[in-house]
Every structure is written in C-alpha cells, then in structure tokens.
C-alpha cells in the first residue's frame, strides 16, 4: 500500500522525538540523586529554587523535591518513596521518629506564622495576640480559610484554635472553610473572598496575588515555626539512599548550609533563620 512508507516514517519520527525527550530526562537518573519529601512552604517561598542548585554545586547531589505538605510528606516516607523528609511540625516529626521511620531529627531553621486578612480588617483583630484574634474571628463568624490538609501550617493552626479554647468540631460554622489544599491555594482563596488565613511568612513574602490582603497579627511567640530534617530509616526502607541522604542533611546543618539559608532574601527581607545549633529547637 502506497500510504505505508509515509505512515511508518511519521510514526518513527514521532517516537524518536518522544524517546529523545524522555531520554533527556532519564539521563538524570544516572546522577547521584535523592528524593526529599518536603512542605509547600519551602517550595512556594522559593527557598528550594535558591538552595538546591547550590547543593548540587557543593555536593554533586541532585535533590528531587516533592512539595506535599508535612502530613503527606511523612506518609510518603512511611511508604518508602522518599529518602529524606524536611518538614515543619515537631509533634508529627517526633511521632514519625517514635514509629521507627526516621533515624534522627535535626533542627534546621525557623521562621514564623502570620495571620493574614483583608487590609480593612472587618473583624477588628489587627495587633491583637493570636489567641484573642482567633476568638474574635470565631465570635464574629468572619470568613477563615483553613488548609485542612495535615500540613505543618494546618497542624499549627489547629493547635492555636485549641489553645484559644475553641472546639472546632462543635464551634465551626460556614465561616470556617477547610479547603484541603496548599498554602498558595489558601492565599488565593483568601484574596478572592476577603477572608482570614494563617500562613507561614516565607510563602506570604513570595506570594504574588495579594489583592487586598495584609499581615494583621505577627510576632506572637506562639507563631514560632520550626523546620526539621530527618533521614528515612534504611532499616524500615531498604531502598533509602543513605549516604547521599545523610550528606544532604549534613550540608544543611553545616555552617556553609546554614549561611546559604540565611542568605535567601526577598526584597532584602530574610525568610528563614538557621538554628541547627539549638538543641531545644
């Protein structure tokens, strides 16, 4: 049949293009690489975009980041699909360790959470401490966006409601919107619906769709946000790349790594404060 040569030619060409595309990406698999399950804040703030090329230059390790939120990241590690976890919910991290999935927890850096809301602050919470602010939001039924996704920020948010004496299961109403998504999505929603939302400062500083949103509550010591890193336990997960994983962790907590973290700034403002040498962190 006369059409066959063209058809075959075109199919072969298409498959070569596709294979070339795939081979180009599969070539990476030959390098020293690790999978790090991390949060959306470390990605959306731009930290990893800044940090990882430097890591590759200094250690030769290609770090593949899954930006999933703390809860999901730890679950990914429990399924042995990650080599390292880099998250920010100490209680969840310690549970992970206690279950035997982590080798050791190293504090890396901290920043803080901020309560974001519409500039004109209809609930009148600006400048209050965080617990009073949350109580006021609930009392006035002001719209509040919750991540609802077991992320570090979500875990912190739920702990703050509890500390404010509010039982969400009983007291939540249509004003409390759980969206089950990342920080960026929550901020987008808050921007579009003039609602209040708890965010980590890093993501907020890098966020580009602020609309009428502004920081209304900050500086409360309850808003402290600590990040920790752990190697997934090779005893539980034989596929874990122990050496490059530990090498990445060692670099993060080294003076060089800590210096790079401190050097990450947006518009001159530092986003993360290294504290690997703080034993209580």
């Amino acid at each position: 049949m006369k059409q066959w040569p063209q058809f075959l030619q075109a199919s072969v060409f298409a498959m070569l293009m596709a294979a070339a595309g795939l081979m180009g990406s599969q070539a990476h698999a030959q390098e020293k690489s690790i999978v790090v399950a991390s949060t959306t804040s470390t990605q959306d703030s731009g930290l990893f975009g800044y940090l990882l090329p430097i890591v590759r230059e200094k250690t030769g390790i290609v770090v593949r980041v899954l930006a999933q939120g703390t809860g999901q990241a730890l679950d990914t590690a429990r399924r042995c699909d990650a080599d390292v976890v880099f998250v920010h919910a100490k209680s969840a991290e310690e549970k992970f360790l206690a279950e035997g999935f982590g080798v050791k927890r190293y504090p890396v850096m901290y920043n803080d959470f901020v309560l974001i809301g519409p500039k004109d602050d209809p609930a009148g919470i600006k400048g209050k401490d965080i617990l009073t602010a949350l109580q006021t939001i609930k009392a006035k039924g002001a719209p509040f966006i919750s991540r609802g996704d077991r992320s570090g920020t979500n875990i912190a948010e739920l702990a703050l409601w509890k500390e404010a004496g509010i039982d969400l299961a009983k007291d939540k109403g249509p004003w409390y919107k759980e969206i089950g998504q990342g920080m960026g999505a929550a901020l987008n929603m808050a921007s579009a619906s003039n609602a209040y939302v708890l965010s980590d400062r890093g993501t907020w500083l890098a966020f580009a769709n602020r609309g009428d949103l502004a920081v209304l509550v900050e500086g409360d010591k309850r808003l402290f946000n600590q990040y920790g890193v752990m190697l997934v336990n090779p005893a539980k997960c034989p596929s874990v790349k122990r050496e490059p994983g530990q090498q990445f962790i060692d670099w993060l907590i080294s003076p060089a790594g800590q210096g790079v973290i401190a050097g990450y700034k947006i518009n001159g403002q530092q986003l993360f404060y290294p504290n690997a040498n703080d034993p209580n962190a």
Binding site: F7, M17, A20, L22, V35, R64, L66, R79, C80, D81
Partner: protein, 232 residues
C-alpha cells in the same frame, strides 16, 4: 483584563527568550504526552478494531466497559498507578515512581479507553459497508484490519489526537505519580498549577497560552499528514 494582557505579553517574552528551564518543560510535556498517546494508539487500535470485527461472547459487555472508562476520573487513575508503583506497592522494586515513565504509564491508561472507544466506533461503521466484501474476497478477519485501517485513516488520526489531547492536558494524575519535581517531572500543566498556587496568575496564563500553541501545532501537523495520506 489586566491579567490577560499581562499574560499575552509574558507569553510573547517567554517564547522569544525560550530559556533552558522552559525548554526542558516543553520537551518533557511533548515527550511524555506523545509517548503515552502513541502507546495508547498502538495498543488500543487493534483492540478497538477487534471488538468491531470479531464476534466474541461478552462483546457487548466489553464495549460498555470501554465506553464507561471514558468517564474514568484521571486523579483516580493517578492514585491507582501511584499505589502500584510505590516502594511499598507490588511494582515498587521497579523504582519508577516520581519519574517520567510513571507519568507515561498514567497517561497511557487514560488514553487507552479513548482510542478503543473511538476506533471501535469507526470500525463498526466501516465494517458495515466493507466487512462482507472483504471476507468474501478471502481475507481473514485479522488481515481485513489492514484495509480497514487504510479506509478509516482519518478517523484513526482523530483517535490519536483525542488521546494526545487527553495526555497533554493532564494535571492531577501526573502530579500524583510524577511529583512535579523541578527539572525532572515538571510539565507545562503541572508548572501552571504551581505558578497559580504561588499567585503568579499572569505567568500561569502565559504558560497556558504556550501550551495551547503546542497543542494546536501537533494537531495541525497530524491533520496535514492525514491530508497527505488521503490525497494519494
């Protein structure tokens, strides 16, 4: 409106500059989607034709299932592939979770029902006219597939393009099985999702414009190729 005009300007600037990261994302998107739609086509076309040509017991059930799978939620496919490929899953030792290969598998699974259903439909119509004459001429049902393919070649191209369209537009499934890893499993669609979550709406729209241009190019090339076939 400002977002849309900004997006157009950003898209133009991105295309002109075409930096390495954008190039990587475009090549990966095309590579994964073309591979997946070609696989779906190669596997699905014979199945679709066989469903129309052979009189099998339970054929009706097969056809119902194939058409029902058109409504298969992509994120469910993503989840199933993820659980299969996870280290703690049955195919974990392959180590292909969070790689482009996993994305191809998920997209092939999504494109397969489309190809089977469309090719089946085309073949039924062609077979109604040409089936008996071909069999009378002495062709076996298997060999009859070849002239059927030739007669229905434009429909086959449409089936391929439908599978490709499904693949290039996919987000949910490939974020789950690919992980949206920068420089490795980040495609146009997952980059758009990411930029949206960073509030970079104009940039996300600009990427979307580029994606649509890519899709149109593939579609145009396929249809030109199809016309070249027909004119012979």
């Amino acid at each position: 409106m400002q977002d849309f005009t900004d997006a157009l300007h950003t898209a133009a600037a991105l295309i002109v500059h075409f930096d390495a990261e954008l190039r990587g994302i475009v090549v990966l998107s095309l590579g994964v989607s073309l591979t997946a739609s070609i696989c779906a086509f190669v596997i699905g076309s014979p199945l679709g034709m066989a469903l129309a040509i052979y009189r099998l017991r339970g054929r009706g059930a097969f056809i119902v299932v194939a058409n029902a799978l058109l409504g298969l939620p992509p994120v469910v496919v993503g989840l199933v592939v993820y659980l299969l490929l996870s280290r703690s899953g049955p195919l974990g030792s392959l180590g292909i979770l969070f790689t482009p290969t996993a994305m191809v598998i998920a997209q092939t699974a999504l494109g397969l029902p489309i190809v089977i259903a469309l090719v089946h439909r085309i073949t039924v119509d062609i077979w109604a006219t040409y089936g008996d004459p071909l069999l009378i001429d002495g062709a076996s049902r298997l060999r009859a597939m070849i002239p059927i393919m030739a007669i229905g070649r434009e429909g086959l191209i449409t089936a391929f393009l439908a599978a490709f369209g499904r693949a290039i537009a996919e987000v949910g499934a490939i974020i789950v099985v690919g992980g949206n890893i920068r420089g490795y499993t980040r495609t146009m669609t997952t980059a758009i999702a990411l930029e949206t979550s960073k509030g970079e709406l104009s940039f996300a729209l600009a990427l979307g414009i580029i994606l649509i241009i890519l899709s149109m190019t593939v579609s145009a090339l396929s249809l030109i190729f199809g016309r070249a076939l027909t004119s012979r």
